[in-house]
């Protein structure tokens, strides 16, 4: 149904500045129920199963039950997000378990320097092909004229 919220685990992100799943869902699917203020996927038939709500939930209250029109019951795929890795637990319908761990980033969040050489664009080259990074390095891009 795509993503679903476990009633007991969800606290509606009460202690936080925003409701995490609502904040992150690319398709605006997550909402809070008006009575209990818990997360709910308000439009499951529009869910892409992108898992962003699952990954961001601070309570691990959100999981995915694979689309019922095409998937038999009983399997699950659950991520655990670390600071630079993701650990996946895949459970088959027959109970078999598989676990995988993959890196997600090699520079810590918030630590990136996007302009390491502090170069602004060289305005004399604004009409030329190439990015500010090419100009800073002195790279001239090839052109096609010789090949026509």
């Amino acid at each position: 149904m795509p993503s679903f919220v476990i009633t007991e685990k969800c606290d509606g992100c009460m202690g936080q500045d925003k409701t995490a799943c609502m904040y992150i869902c690319p398709h605006d699917l997550m909402a809070l129920t008006s009575d209990t203020h818990k997360g709910i996927n308000q439009e499951p038939e529009q869910c892409w199963e992108c898992y962003n709500c699952v990954k961001i939930c601070p309570q691990q209250a959100i999981e995915v039950r694979a689309y019922a029109d095409l998937a038999p019951l009983g399997g699950s795929v659950i991520p655990m997000i670390g600071s630079d890795t993701v650990m996946w637990t895949v459970k088959f319908r027959n109970g078999q378990l598989k676990r995988f761990k993959f890196p997600t980033r090699t520079v810590a969040a918030g630590q990136v320097d996007i302009y390491p050489d502090s170069s602004a664009g060289d305005m004399s080259k604004i009409k030329e092909p190439g990015f500010f990074t090419h100009h800073a390095r002195g790279d001239a891009l090839p052109t096609l004229s010789g090949n026509i």
Partner: protein, 655 residues
């Protein structure tokens, strides 16, 4: 039906927020993130303000929201000329080679930046072993310094891309922050604001002056005044009926939030579209639409029909009768065509033999290496199509033991992948004939309106990295435009409140009529956006060559379909919205209708079957190079609700 009126009697009148900027970025995906990063370096020193407006949260918006397991455009040791040859061949001989070449010469820098920002990129060590991105970072040089990527194809490299978009977004947000501080603006990054309409300059109907939209979180109407804009809000999904049903309808291959907004808003402003007849029908793992690239190219898996035959070989000579030499270098659509022949003949299921491939690779491997290989196979899905891992788990499929079924999906409209629908843009000044430039690189035929990624037509195979790079190309040229037009002060004449009334109309309609029936879903006064979407999907599917007809349509079928499409368009004015979420859906679906109509009109005009396997004109089944080796462009006139379609010549620039 009587026209709907919004007098704010039932819908709470929204607060109207007016935001002035120089550069407006519409969208927050790879292209707009690239644009923010590049624009800052050129605009900030000139005091020019940049604003990004994203209908979602930029960390996880756009087509890369879920992550990716590969970067599909990295030239490395290849030449941009060869990149042109590859794209041209895959897109059946017709591409804007100036745009493709330009992309090819720029794209690697974006990939190098991703790696610098922390994207893990697999590398091949000196002894030939494959290292994941974290291990490679410890022992191997970066790509920029000569590190060897793991190629899963000539143009593709493997990554650990779960956080790909988060990493790219972080750089874009830092760039926006830099610009915001330098220009003294209070806010320049708007999330959860959906732009639905572009506005023209009152003195020059061919120039953009602004855009309007609304918050999907608060009752607020946004008016953005700008001097230039980058419209890069993705392709179009859910225009056609999906193979999945019920709650599975979100399982499209391309992200379901890509609602055709790029094409619809450009068309309504009068920008010239190109190649909107093109579509993409990806053949993928059945139901979950997991990627096949790594399986075919890296793991060397083969696909056959149920008789064990290679359908690409057995169906080739029959296909040659209609498609001539195009069957010799099999591109994406032709590969579909050859497979579909067997599916229609009952020779399915078509299977990809993951088991055979894995067992063959394992023959020379240690148990540890085999385990690593199996993890790589799962990661391919877990990084970008987790749903497919769910399908495997639910069906007890272990790829090393069991083959999987393949299936061609429902059609999507896009310009970044193996498709080339989009907007007609000016090309790089140093390449190509005069008719390919009328101004600034990646500017549409509307002055000041630029596009990138899925928005640029007639040049596919950009993928994630190319879309980022194309956003950067557009950004630099937007600044160039601004510096050349310093005196410009475009203004639109529309009244803010009248615009707000139009945008919020579905909420007024809901409030006025919903209690008329005991079930608000069934009400003669309106249609809910969900149902209008399903009507559009049914119409497109049956008349414009969807899955039901195996992608077959014809002039007569299209003409019949236009009658229904016209009424769908009329009924779009009677959509209701119970809340802001449904208002989002109402406008997304309006955009889908316009994009879908553009697609149908273009297919009607091109009297041949240029893309067998993507769609067929039953009345013109062959490829007709003599008459149709050209672009098809169109212009929509919203005032008169009419489409003008015409040919534009194709120029071969690379031998």
């Amino acid at each position: 039906m009587e026209p709907k009126v919004n007098n704010w009697e039932y819908c709470e009148k929204p607060e109207i927020v007016v935001h002035e900027t120089d550069i407006l970025l519409i969208g927050g995906g790879m292209a707009c993130c690239g644009a923010a990063y590049e624009a800052d370096r050129w605009a900030t020193s000139q005091g020019l303000r940049i604003t990004m407006v994203d209908k979602a949260a930029t960390d996880r918006s756009g087509a890369v929201a879920q992550g990716l397991s590969a970067i599909n455009t990295y030239l490395g040791e290849n030449s941009a000329e060869d990149y042109v040859r590859y794209v041209r061949q895959d897109l059946m001989g017709i591409t804007r080679e100036d745009l493709v070449y330009d992309l090819g010469r720029h794209v690697d820098d974006s990939v190098h930046r991703f790696e610098e920002w922390g994207l893990p990129i697999w590398k091949t060590a000196e002894d030939g072993t494959r290292l994941d991105g974290a291990a490679a970072k410890r022992s191997e040089p970066s790509l920029e310094d000569g590190g060897k990527p793991v190629r899963s194809g000539r143009w593709q490299i493997m990554i650990n891309g779960e956080s790909y978009k988060v990493i790219v977004s972080e750089a874009a947000k830092l760039a926006l922050e830099n610009n915001r501080k330098a220009t003294g603006v209070e806010q320049n990054h708007f999330e959860r604001v959906f732009i639905v309409k572009l506005l023209k300059d009152e003195n020059d109907p061919d120039r953009i002056a602004g855009a309007v939209g609304f918050s999907v979180r608060e009752q607020k109407f946004y008016v953005f005044k700008c001097k230039v804009a980058l419209l890069a809000a993705g392709g179009a999904v859910n225009v056609f009926k999906t193979r999945a049903t019920g709650e599975g309808q979100g399982r499209a291959w391309f992200p379901v939030w890509n609602s055709g907004s790029t094409y619809a808003m450009a068309a309504e402003l009068g920008a010239e579209l190109t190649m909107m007849e093109n579509r993409f029908v990806p053949t993928r793992f059945k139901d979950g639409y997991g990627p096949v690239g790594a399986w075919f190219l890296l793991f060397k898996a083969k696909a056959t029909n149920a008789l064990g035959e290679n359908y690409e070989e057995t169906n080739r000579e029959e296909a040659r009768k209609l498609y001539g030499d195009y069957v010799d270098n099999v591109g994406t659509c032709m590969r579909n065509h050859l497979m579909i022949q067997d599916m229609k003949a009952g020779k399915g299921p078509i299977k990809i033999h993951t088991d055979v491939a894995m067992q063959k690779l394992a023959e020379t491997m240690t148990p540890k290496e085999i385990k690593h290989l199996q993890a790589e196979a799962w990661e391919d899905f877990l990084d970008m199509t987790i749903a497919q891992a769910g399908v495997w788990a639910a069906n007890n499929i272990e790829p090393e033991k069991t083959p999987s079924e393949l299936m061609p999906s429902e059609p999507y409209l896009l310009g970044s992948h193996a498709g080339c629908a989009g907007i007609w843009v000016s090309g790089p000044e140093d390449i190509g004939p005069d008719e390919y430039h009328w101004g600034y690189n990646r500017m549409t035929t509307v002055k000041g309106l630029f596009t990138a990624g899925d928005g640029v037509g007639a040049s596919g195979h950009k993928f994630s990295s190319g879309s980022h790079a194309e956003g950067r190309i557009a950004a630099k040229n937007m600044v160039s435009f601004l510096l050349d037009h310093k005196g410009d002060d475009p203004q639109f004449s529309e009244d803010h409140e009248e615009l707000a009334k139009e945008v919020f109309m579905p909420m007024e309609t809901w409030g006025k009529y919903n209690s008329y029936t005991t079930d608000p879903n069934i009400n003669p006064h309106y249609i809910r956006p969900r149902m209008l979407q399903q009507r559009l999907q049914k119409c497109m599917d049956e008349y414009v060559g969807g899955i039901t007809t195996w992608y077959m349509t014809s002039g007569t079928m299209l003409d019949e379909g236009f009658k229904y499409l016209e009424m769908i368009k009329e009924d779009s004015l009677h959509m209701c919205a119970e809340n802001l979420h449904e208002l989002l859906r109402a406008w997304e679906n309006y955009h889908r209708i316009v994009a879908g109509e553009a697609h149908a009109r273009h297919i009607r005009f091109r009297e041949e079957t240029r893309y067998p396997g993507y769609y067929y004109r039953g009345d013109h089944l062959a490829i007709d190079d003599e008459n149709w080796k050209c672009f098809v462009n169109s212009r929509y006139d919203k005032e008169t609700n009419s489409w003008d379609l015409f040919k534009k010549p194709y120029h071969q620039l690379v031998s």
